[in-house]
């Protein structure tokens, strides 16, 4: 530790470059992670809110909630008890009264008494048909409590009576209505008793022709584009972490080679190779620690300056895991130099080779 710190302090510029590189890479990794998590969440938070085990959707829907419709005679046998909830989903365009701006949203039709009824952070649950609950992300579009909104160009307005949060599906915020309003929007009439899916809180098995029971995880992975998006981000993040290995490896290798004669002197004086290698790894730990630490600070600050519409989500657990991954990669990079250090001949100190 002593040698490691003394050397870093004596060659500040050189090691500052290493820190700066690590800082940039870590910051990029953290930023990508935040976007990946943020985007993933926008696809799924409404589903996560249910805290359910499985859903039943129509067999032809290819595990996609948006494509599923289940007629009453197919689901009525299973819609029993409070651990089962009916859900209707339809993608709609909403408009604030007196505004021309069109906003992509989801309508979730629910029974207000079921377990998937939205948890409110403000207001109350609807009592009438034209009353709705909206996700608080819509406040970015000025939709708040008591706002009047038009859905799919309807002639009448819906009044926002309740606000919920973290209810986003398929990257668009959710508007909760009762089942009848949903049915009118999707099927033109509330007399058609179709639903999109049945949500099961427990592990109850459903075996019926024309229906398919899938896990929540399966449901999320089949949100169109979700898996591809997560995969792309994961690859980018993994690539950056591996690049850390190369950059630290190469940096430290060059610095090590420059110090071969010095190491020779140290070996001649009877300083063990283990001490030299120890110093090398301490240096890597210190440099990556500072670099990643600064990146963490900056990412913490960044989120306050980003527009609310950027799907940025600070996942500190992921940051910590990635910081550790970067450190491990950096240490592995250092092991490229280890071979050189092990081969150092103390004789070179005297012969000046």
């Amino acid at each position: 530790m002593f040698l490691a710190i003394k050397e870093i302090l004596h060659n500040k510029m050189r090691y500052l470059l290493v820190v700066f590189t690590i800082f940039l890479i870590s910051y990029m990794v953290f930023f990508l992670t935040s976007l990946a998590v943020g985007l993933a969440r926008e696809n799924r938070t409404a589903v996560d809110q249910w805290d359910a085990k499985t859903v039943v959707i129509s067999g032809y829907a290819n595990k996609s909630l948006v494509a599923s419709t289940i007629p009453q005679n197919s689901y009525q046998d299973y819609d029993k008890g409070k651990d089962v909830a009916k859900l209707g989903q339809v993608s709609v365009v909403s408009q604030l009264k007196d505004s021309k701006k069109k906003i992509n949203t989801n309508v979730f039709g629910v029974d207000w008494k079921s377990f998937i009824s939205p948890k409110l952070i403000d207001g109350r649950l609807p009592e009438k048909n034209h009353e709705v609950v909206v996700d608080d992300a819509l406040k970015n579009d000025s939709i708040k409590l008591n706002s009047q909104i038009k859905i799919n160009g309807s002639s009448k307005y819906y009044k926002v009576v309740g606000i919920t949060k973290n209810n986003s599906f398929f990257a668009t915020p959710v508007i909760f209505t009762n089942m009848d309003v949903f049915r009118t929007m999707k099927y033109g009439s509330s007399r058609t008793k179709n639903i999109s899916t049945l949500v099961f809180k427990n592990n109850k098995k459903v075996n019926a022709t024309g229906l398919e029971q899938i896990s929540i995880k399966d449901l999320i992975n089949h949100i169109p584009g979700y898996t591809a998006q997560v995969l792309v981000f994961s690859f980018m993040i993994a690539a950056m972490v591996i690049i850390t290995f190369l950059i630290i490896g190469i940096f430290m290798y060059i610095i090590t080679i420059q110090k071969i004669s010095l190491y020779g002197v140290m070996r001649a004086q009877g300083i063990r190779t283990a001490r030299i290698i120890e110093s090398l790894f301490y240096q890597i730990l210190i440099l990556t620690g500072i670099g990643a630490g600064l990146a963490l600070l900056l990412i913490g600050v960044t989120q306050f300056f980003l527009p609310k519409t950027v799907p940025f989500y600070s996942d500190w657990l992921a940051y910590i895991v990635l910081t550790l991954a970067i450190m491990v990669m950096a240490l592995l990079g250092g092991s490229l130099s280890m071979r050189r250090v092990l081969k150092i001949d103390p004789l070179s100190a005297i012969e000046g080779e």
Binding site: H10, N11, G270, R272, I350
Partner: protein, 223 residues
């Protein structure tokens, strides 16, 4: 018991037609309290002799005993520790670590010594070698003479029993050279250590106990 005993040690480089006998079979003994000088033209094998003596390279044949212990039976880690604990090197190329101040050069020794032992007081060493004013300087900010004195201080700091000096006075003026050599003589005589010094400067030989001359790989005693 001698500090170092070399028995029939030789060193060859290459093989066949390119074989070079850098050091012919040599017997050599260094006792406690002895100050030995080795002279000879460059390329005669002085440095080879010193590096073999300092366990920096192994002889082709023969045995070296340090304090009666056969070093050929040790592994390289044990030899490294032996160097750290028993040897002080004063090298032609500076043996100072460039990113450490003079004071920190001593601290490294304290940090890395396994057994807590009373190291020679660094303040006393700095005074002795007239380095008090540059104790916080880095090697690159020292004059040639100061650097050489700092290297000597570093070599003496871990209280070595054996001090190997490769032209320690090369970059010093004659007054300083005299001081350094008398210091080495004092170290040898007063604290019962063995000092071996390679030198070109024949004026310095008066203070030594023995003088050997190296010529074409043969070591001959002169005094």
């Amino acid at each position: 018991m001698p500090l170092i005993e070399m028995i029939n040690v030789n060193r060859q480089y290459g093989s066949g037609r390119t074989l070079v006998e850098a050091l012919h079979p040599t017997n050599f003994v260094l006792n406690k309290g002895e100050f030995v000088a080795i002279i000879g033209p460059s390329g005669s094998g002085k440095t080879t002799f010193l590096t073999i003596l300092g366990l920096l390279q192994s002889p082709t044949q023969g045995k070296i005993f340090v304090n009666g212990k056969d070093t050929s039976k040790m592994n390289s880690g044990q030899r490294t520790d032996l160097r750290f604990n028993k040897f002080g090197f004063i090298l032609q190329a500076s043996n100072l670590i460039p990113f450490l101040s003079v004071n920190d050069q001593f601290k490294v020794v304290d940090k890395f010594s396994r057994s807590k032992r009373r190291s020679r007081n660094s303040a006393e060493l700095l005074r002795l070698l007239d380095l008090q004013n540059v104790a916080n300087n880095y090697p690159s900010n020292l004059s040639g003479g100061e650097r050489q004195r700092a290297a000597i201080a570093r070599a003496l700091y871990n209280n070595p029993e054996i001090i190997l000096a490769d032209e320690p006075t090369a970059s010093l003026d004659s007054k300083r050279a005299q001081q350094v050599v008398s210091l080495l003589a004092q170290v040898a005589h007063e604290s019962q250590r063995g000092v071996i010094m390679i030198t070109h400067d024949t004026r310095l030989l008066a203070m030594t106990d023995h003088v050997y001359e190296m010529q074409d790989g043969f070591l001959r005693q002169q005094k």
